[in-house]
């Protein structure tokens, strides 16, 4: 999460021109480890973060997820999937002028909690939602 790293003073803005990929964060295997890798361990649950997703996914290969933040000065949004082999799925820098809203689709290995993590005005907030993944079609 680029904006977060900058907020934490880890890299200078000039370095951010090159495309960064936070290998350490994407290799984490639990929610606490991901939060730690993103410098977001102190994140608090907030009603200002809203997840829009179905309670039940007909197929785990494509699960539609939208995250919207009502928090002022939202700088970044990340999506974490607790029970996936790697927890962190995606993170988005939200520059000023871009709505604090993102909609995408993720893979879920099994029924799991998903976390939407938001960096707003230098602080971390999150929301949680469980999504059930069903066995589809004729099954294996």
């Amino acid at each position: 999460m680029l904006a977060w790293a900058m907020a934490a003073g880890l890299i200078k803005p000039s370095q951010a021109l090159a495309l960064e990929w936070n290998k350490a964060a994407f290799e984490t295997k639990s929610v606490p480890d991901t939060l730690k890798a993103l410098g977001a361990s102190g994140s608090t649950e907030s009603g200002g973060v809203q997840i829009t997703a179905p309670d039940i996914a007909e197929n785990g290969a494509v699960v539609p997820i939208s995250v919207e933040s009502a928090l002022a000065k939202t700088q970044a949004i990340a999506i974490l999937i607790e029970k996936n082999p790697n927890t962190l799925s995606a993170d988005f820098d939200i520059p000023a002028g871009t709505d604090p809203f993102i909609s995408t689709r993720v893979k879920m290995a099994e029924t799991s909690n998903i976390y939407a993590l938001v960096l707003a005005d230098g602080k971390y907030f999150h929301a949680v939602k469980e999504i059930k993944v069903t066995i589809g079609g004729c099954g294996g």
Partner: protein
């Protein structure tokens, strides 16, 4: 070479509404092929969207973004007729850039 993206850029209540589909396998590195061999991970790591020389969205992705990724977001400050440019870069260094014109 990778197939072009499908980009829909349209004005919606004064903002630019972007929907994009990208043709990419998004291999997790955990799937086995018919011979039982692990298929190496192959996935988009970075997506950058620019408008008028300004980055309006920058994303980092892992392997769990769905195959043929879909992305939807909105930004302010664009007008019909202007261009939006989207670039993705994957873990093998392959990259693709496509442009779309903002429609009314």
């Amino acid at each position: 070479m990778a197939d072009p993206m499908r980009i829909r850029a349209a004005m919606d209540r004064g903002k630019v509404d972007i929907k994009v589909l990208m043709a990419h396998e998004m291999e997790t590195g955990q799937r086995k092929d018919a011979q039982g061999k692990i298929v190496p991970a192959h996935f988009i790591r970075n997506v950058t969207v620019t408008h008028a020389g300004r980055t309006v969205l920058a994303a980092q992705w892992g392997t769990s973004v769905s195959r043929n990724p879909f992305l939807h977001f909105r930004f302010s400050g664009g007008k019909p007729g202007e261009k939006v440019s989207i670039t993705w870069l994957d873990n093998k260094g392959e990259t693709r850039t496509d442009e779309a014109t903002i429609s009314g």
